[in-house]
Amino acid sequence: MKISIQINEGPYQHQASDTAYQFAKAAIAKGHEIFRVFFYHDGVDNATRFTVPPQDDRHIVNNWASLDIKNAEGEPELVVCIAAALRRGLVDDSEAQKNGIEGNNIHPAFRISGLGQLIEAGIQSDRLVVFGD
């Protein structure tokens, strides 16, 4: 089955991202396809490459990256909402340049795109499951 996931909260503050990761891993193990993971609201903060958790704790960003969820064109299907990302300071090179910001913090396993990607995930997938606060 094709399953998509929406994540509304950032890493560590809420369990939402952890639960969604465990769910995605289990779905893949059972032979399902994760069509897309869409990071919305504070969920965009799951996509930063600046995270350094304590050594004895899980690394939520790397956990997501390790699932290596990509589409047929090889693009990441860990998708970060652009509007939510800009509001909260999660940028890639392109957005940094457009907005006069020096640097970027997006992890390469994720990509930034529009909200249409969430709707599309709802249309294309057999199931969409939301994880939030």
């Binding site: 399953i3 509304n8 639960t19 769910f23 289990a26 399902h32 994880f131």
Partner: protein
């Protein structure tokens, strides 16, 4: 339908809201702090009827994390993450009471 509830019945209104609009064939999965509502307590009656019909599940990892394995109310079934996936597959549209 599958309804997930991820907050304690003592802290938020989300379980009650879910129960206000759930239909006769839907099931509930308690996850994260939602598993607190699976323990025997002063609000157990809220879920008793649905549980007796086998329509209430709780995520085992979350139950164990909160140290309440021995207190889970009668008829509430424990599932792991693969069981969570199965519930999503079997029950159609998923509604998250976040």
């Amino acid at each position: 339908m599958l309804h997930t509830v991820n907050k304690s019945v003592f802290e938020r209104n989300s379980l009650q809201s879910c129960l206000n609009t759930i239909d006769d064939s839907s099931v509930i999965l308690l996850i994260e702090d939602g598993v607190i509502s699976a323990a025997k307590n002063t609000k157990s009656s809220l879920l008793a009827d649905l549980a007796a019909e086998g329509r209430v599940f709780a995520l085992q990892g979350d139950v164990e994390a909160r140290g309440i394995s021995s207190k889970v109310a009668d008829n509430i079934k424990l599932v792991d993450y693969e069981g969570f996936v199965d519930l999503v597959v079997e029950h159609g549209t998923a509604v998250s009471w976040v």
